[in-house]
Symmetry: C2
Subunit: 241 residues, 2 copies
């Protein structure tokens, strides 16, 4: 942990916000690189994502400790307190996004054995682009305290969910068509699920921004995420295409 | 949020510990019921698990707010501070365990359509028993501050990982044998992965208990979890059995 001499509460807050933005950049990069590694079978890139996860975990721990010490020392109230609590929550979402990227990276080898199912990874690539846009947008909303933009991020999560549903269906169909696809498609299914969850974490961050600004939870219950949990494909789906 | 008149720091701490133990009981019940719903195709039990998740989420938020207010008000240091920080981390792990249970519950219908693959859900049932034992044990260690027992929980996580690896292999084999198994087995794969992650959260809690007691992270890097990420089954695995 770096030793910072912090002079004012304001500076402590700025330090925490800067660290969140750095963590956000790291998490974005991990997701982007893990998906690139998957689509290009780039094993050394995949390995570097796995290694980077250790740094993001350490950054989260450091931020959490820092934030808690600030609360104990400064006893902030109202929005000031929410700023700090919010930073702890956001750091935790970013750390989990990094974990999900790492998990995708670890599947690169197994997907490659299949021999580059380009048409399959393309859907995942596109889904990852959406999720990364969401992540960038929500980190910008955090930096600018723009709750409207944060709410827009939250609303757009449905697009990722819809894309996940379609990829889920597609992957199952490929599995049914040819049992040789099953191993690789299983790893791609888990990768797609990971990206869907990255979208959920971007949504969590949007909700935290709203909470910091207003002290309230966003009211309308949005049915978050995965609509594939009840999905059963008839076996002839493979031949119906 | 209940209105408690809290008289001393000690009582606040006791309140927080009691709430963690209640949340632990809820999380255990959700996991146990979700797996029971899965193996017996009990849809109403599955629905009640989904409904319970809202309560666990609310309990986590309440505990977090409470803990943060205690830090701001009492400015605890050293182990006292770690107690509170630890309670926030444990509540977050318990909330995620509840989420994973809910996700299993949501798959009950899709698995049932397949028509009761008893031999398949049996493995998952057994894996869930292990994970629940781990969870019970780690919650007891938290209540009694028994770091030896917590370390034993952490060491045993390997057993869950090994069982997950074997279930992963088994489910892929069933998928390769008959494409009609693919839909249900996919949902069972996700369910098994969820249980593997529940084990990881029990391990996180064990590590938090160690941190509360000692102020240190457990040193030895344990390669946590999922060894299936690089697993590819040859197609003839299905016929080799």
């Amino acid at each position: 942990m770096e030793d910072h001499i912090v002079r004012s509460y304001d500076e402590e807050l700025k330090y925490i916000m800067r660290r969140i933005s750095e963590m956000g950049g790291q998490a974005e990069r991990m997701v982007e690189q893990s998906v690139r590694a998957l689509t290009r079978s780039d094993f050394s890139l995949a390995q570097s994502v796995v290694a980077d996860d250790v740094l993001l975990d350490a950054a989260q721990r450091e931020l959490e400790e820092r934030a808690i010490l600030t609360i104990a020392k400064r006893q902030p109230m109202a929005q000031d307190l929410r700023e700090i609590v919010g930073s702890i929550r956001i750091a935790s979402d970013l750390e989990r996004i990094g974990d999900l990227g790492k998990n995708i990276a670890k599947r690169v080898m197994a997907v490659h054995e299949f021999g580059q199912p380009v048409q399959l990874t393309r859907g995942i690539e596109h889904m990852a682009e959406l999720a990364l846009d969401q992540l960038k947008d929500v980190l910008d909303s955090y930096a600018t305290r723009d709750t409207d933009r944060a709410e827009a991020v939250r609303a757009r999560d449905e697009d990722i969910d819809a894309m996940y549903t379609s990829i889920f269906r597609e992957l199952l169909t490929y599995m049914m068509e040819d049992p040789r696809n099953i191993s690789a498609c299983t790893h791609l299914l888990f990768s797609a699920k990971n990206i869907e969850r990255i979208g959920d974490h971007a949504t969590n961050i949007a909700e935290t921004i709203y909470y910091i600004k207003t002290g309230q939870q966003i009211e309308d219950e949005r049915p978050k995420g995965d609509r594939t949990t009840s999905m059963v494909l008839p076996v002839n789906a493979a031949t119906d295409k």
